[in-house]
């Protein structure tokens, strides 16, 4: 799943990507069927979006999860790579002499 679908939900069938960045006067229209979501930037600033188009635009521009969730994802990634490294070492410990020495 992409970050957009994670944060904004599934792409609507009728979705067409507009070139909003080059149109400074563009006004996002509220979608009454879309539940409001909060997006955050790296500094923790918050913005509420009221349509998929608006949400997709912000997420493409670097807005995302709250800092807490970003932190969690970051830590989970670190742990995951740590696990992979340990798994690699445990499977190849017989090939790596210094690991074998430490293991035994």
């Amino acid at each position: 799943m992409s970050l957009v679908t994670d944060l904004c939900g599934e792409y609507p069938d009728s979705f067409i990507k507009l070139d909003i960045s080059n149109n400074p006067n563009y006004v996002f229209e509220n979608d009454s069927s879309y539940s409001m979501r909060a997006l955050f930037d790296l500094e923790g600033n918050k913005v509420f979006v009221n349509s998929f188009v608006e949400c997709e635009h912000y997420v493409s521009g670097g807005w995302g999860f709250s800092p807490d969730i970003m932190n969690e994802i970051f830590f989970q990634d670190i742990l995951f790579y740590g696990i992979l490294l340990l798994l690699f070492l445990s499977f190849f410990k017989s090939k790596l002499k210094f690991i074998q020495k430490l293991w035994n």
Binding site: D68, N71, E72, F75, Q76, I83, L84, L87
Partner: protein, 668 residues
């Protein structure tokens, strides 16, 4: 002490302490002291102060019992080891502080797993490492299969895990990948560590009662991963393909298909103390997991037993029973007096629930009835059974060796004290009876007259003990009263016009005075004297099987259907401390026999009982085996023992080992 052991001990100390120093308080800011009026600091600063910061500011929380440390598995990784909140609760003029500690489930999996592996590595390795005692086939494939199975369990019980995981998308397969690899890593190291220690490991079985090894926030027992691994291994070997095994596999397969496709509903079950050995939901996927789990667990136990039975050393086993009973009592007592130690016991020993908070194990209520004290065990009765076993084995050992040493004395004293604290009166009666019978049977060359006097004395003592336990007043009640106690209780709990199928059957039989009603009346009288009328009555008011479910059950280790299908009146559980305190509960069956009737149905259960009787008959010359088997059977009948992972595996192993190795001869 070897350098390696010192390094390991240092690593353990580091692992045990380091996470609780994880603080994010700004420089110069110290954690605040909590008071009844003010816990503001912790409301403003959740996940900032470490446990160490909190203890530094509130040093009295280490020993004062109104501080209660609780785990918060749904906290973030960043919050691990930090105080996520403090709440104040006031009732009956006493104030209690509940300190919530961040224990992220994902970290728990790795952290607890590694600690248990390091502790396990203290068991001495085999002297000859080249001569592998357990041959492993398709090792890596098995590791992957077991890891996949346990990862699937998280998917199948997602409703339970939703309450325990901080961020986890249960519908996204990518979320499961780190969990899968975590299982793979832990299992790989654990299995390899186990095989390197296979010479002695079977004698360390008693330690199962000390280390429940349950991951906090998971419905998974760490040790079960090993059994499941060997369960799969056993399928790759032809060693155990006897006719009996083949038949068992086929019958289990047929029953499994029935159980899985019969699980059409969706009923949740609040696991409480059955966590780690029961399904949290009765659903297709969950039932599929627990059916496979139970089958592989049995195969795993059998595989380990077949491969390691020759390594069983009864003296070493008894010595470990002694050490475990002393350690259990000591740890339990310290835990009950120091709230923080109670929390650490829960976390590092992997307990089903927090240890008891009642500081004085000698306490009686206002009616002079002993208050059961369970220590760190999930149930007072179960731990009473364990202490009873310790006493029986120690008795056999002391009589055989005619020697006493410090370990045996402390083991005996701890077990006797622990048994008294647990207030398991059935076990007290059984242990006394076994001691008396054993001492009489010791001399095989009895004269007839001596035998007669002996038998009379045994009968008299046994009767006195039963009278003491059950209470003489209960024997003055009419048979009709006691024989209808179960059905009366079952009907008391029946709600509105909703009747469970089994209660309807019972009522019809009693109305028509059929043969079955006489049989059930007898069962009811036993229940009455065992003080089980209420618990078993509740079971029958809930038990709602179809005809096929009555015959073959609804699947192993799943209470969901029982507790979700039929609505009954509110059940209350009252405990006597200084006065009656009643709380609403769902009252567990308190009989492994009834639980297994629900799981497997009457046909397999009858076969199991017959097999047990056959075991007894084959071992009739070995009265030590007969005594222990009878002891276990009675306890299983009146307690939930087999619904806990530890007693299930422990009893299975000792029955298998004692039956095969010591048939027709004393094992002491």
């Amino acid at each position: 002490m070897e350098l390696k052991h010192i390094f390991k001990a240092f690593l353990i100390v580091l692992l045990l302490t380091l996470p609780w120093f994880n603080s994010q308080l700004d420089n110069g800011v110290a954690a605040a002291k909590v008071s009844q009026e003010n816990v503001q600091f912790y409301e403003i600063n959740p996940c900032k102060a470490s446990l160490f910061d909190f203890l530094k500011a509130n040093s009295e929380s280490i020993y004062q019992d109104h501080f209660k440390f609780r785990f918060d598995n749904k906290s973030s990784i960043k919050c691990f080891g930090r105080v996520t909140g403090v709440t104040v609760s006031t009732s009956n003029l006493t104030t209690a502080f509940y300190i919530s500690l961040g224990t992220n489930s994902f970290i728990n999996l790795l952290f607890q797993g590694f600690i248990w592996i390091i502790l396990f590595s203290f068991i001495p390795k085999n002297k000859d490492q080249n001569n592998k005692k357990i041959e492993l086939r398709l090792h890596n494939l098995t590791l992957v299969l077991v890891s996949y199975l346990f990862t699937f369990s998280i998917y199948s019980e997602s409703k339970f895990y939703e309450k325990n995981f901080y961020i986890f998308d249960f519908y996204d397969i990518d979320s499961y990948i780190p969990i899968f690899f975590s299982f793979l890593l832990l299992l790989k190291i654990f299995v390899e560590s186990f095989t390197e220690r296979s010479d002695v490991v079977i004698n360390y079985l008693p330690y199962l009662f000390l280390f429940s090894a349950l991951f906090s926030g998971f419905n998974i027992n760490f040790l079960s991963m090993l059994f499941i691994y060997f369960g799969i291994q056993s399928l790759f070997f032809s060693k155990d393909s006897t006719l009996l095994n083949k038949t068992f596999n086929k019958v289990f397969l047929i029953l499994s298909i029935w159980w899985i496709f019969n699980s059409t509903g969706s009923y949740s079950f609040n696991l409480t103390k059955f966590r780690g050995f029961s399904s949290s939901i009765y659903e297709f996927n969950a039932n599929l997991f627990w059916v496979i789990y139970f089958f592989l667990l049995l195969k795993g136990i059998q595989f380990i037993y077949i491969n390691l039975k020759e390594k069983f050393n009864i003296d070493s086993f008894t010595q470990n029973l002694s050490i475990t009973s002393s350690a259990l009592l000591l740890i339990s007592y310290i835990g009950s007096n120091f709230p923080i130690i109670n929390f650490f016991n829960y976390y590092f020993l992997g307990l089903q629930r927090l240890g008891v908070e009642l500081q004085n194990p000698f306490l009686f209520d206002e009616y002079s009835v002993k208050i059961a004290w369970r220590g760190i065990s999930p149930s007072a009765e179960t731990i009473g059974e364990f202490y009873g076993i310790c006493l029986i084995f120690l008795l056999f050992n002391i009589v055989k060796t005619q020697k006493l040493n410090f370990l045996k004395i402390t083991g005996t004293l701890s077990s006797a004290l622990g048994l008294y604290f647990s207030d398991n009166r059935t076990v007290i009666v059984l242990v006394f009876s076994i001691i008396i019978i054993y001492l009489f049977l010791l001399n095989n060359e009895f004269q007839f007259k001596k035998k007669f006097i002996g038998s009379f004395l045994i009968f008299f003592l046994f009767l006195s003990l039963i009278l003491l336990t059950v209470g003489s007043s209960n024997f003055t009640l009419s048979y009709q009263f006691v024989s209808e106690s179960l059905i009366r209780k079952a009907n008391d709990y029946q709600f509105d016009s909703i009747y469970s199928s089994y209660l309807t059957l019972l009522n019809n039989n009693f109305e028509n005075s059929t043969f079955y009603s006489y049989f059930f009346s007898f069962f009811s009288s036993i229940a009455y004297f065992l003080n089980r009328s209420e618990m078993w009555g509740v079971f029958f008011s809930r038990y709602n099987p179809t005809f096929m479910e009555f015959l073959f059950g609804s699947g192993p280790l799943n209470f969901g259907q029982l507790y979700g299908e039929v609505v009954i009146n509110k059940t209350e559980y009252c405990i006597l401390t200084t006065k009656f305190i009643c709380t609403e509960t769902f009252l567990l069956p308190h009989s492994s026999f009834l639980s297994y009737l629900l799981f497997f149905g009457i046909v397999p259960l009858t076969l199991l009982v017959l097999t047990f009787l056959l075991f007894l008959y084959k071992n009739r010359k070995n009265y030590q085996f007969v005594l222990i088997s009878t002891y276990l059977f009675i306890n299983i009948f009146k307690n939930d023992s087999l619904n806990y992972f530890t007693p299930f595996c422990f009893y299975a192993f000792i029955m298998l080992i004692l039956n095969s190795r010591f048939r027709s001869k004393k094992f002491y």
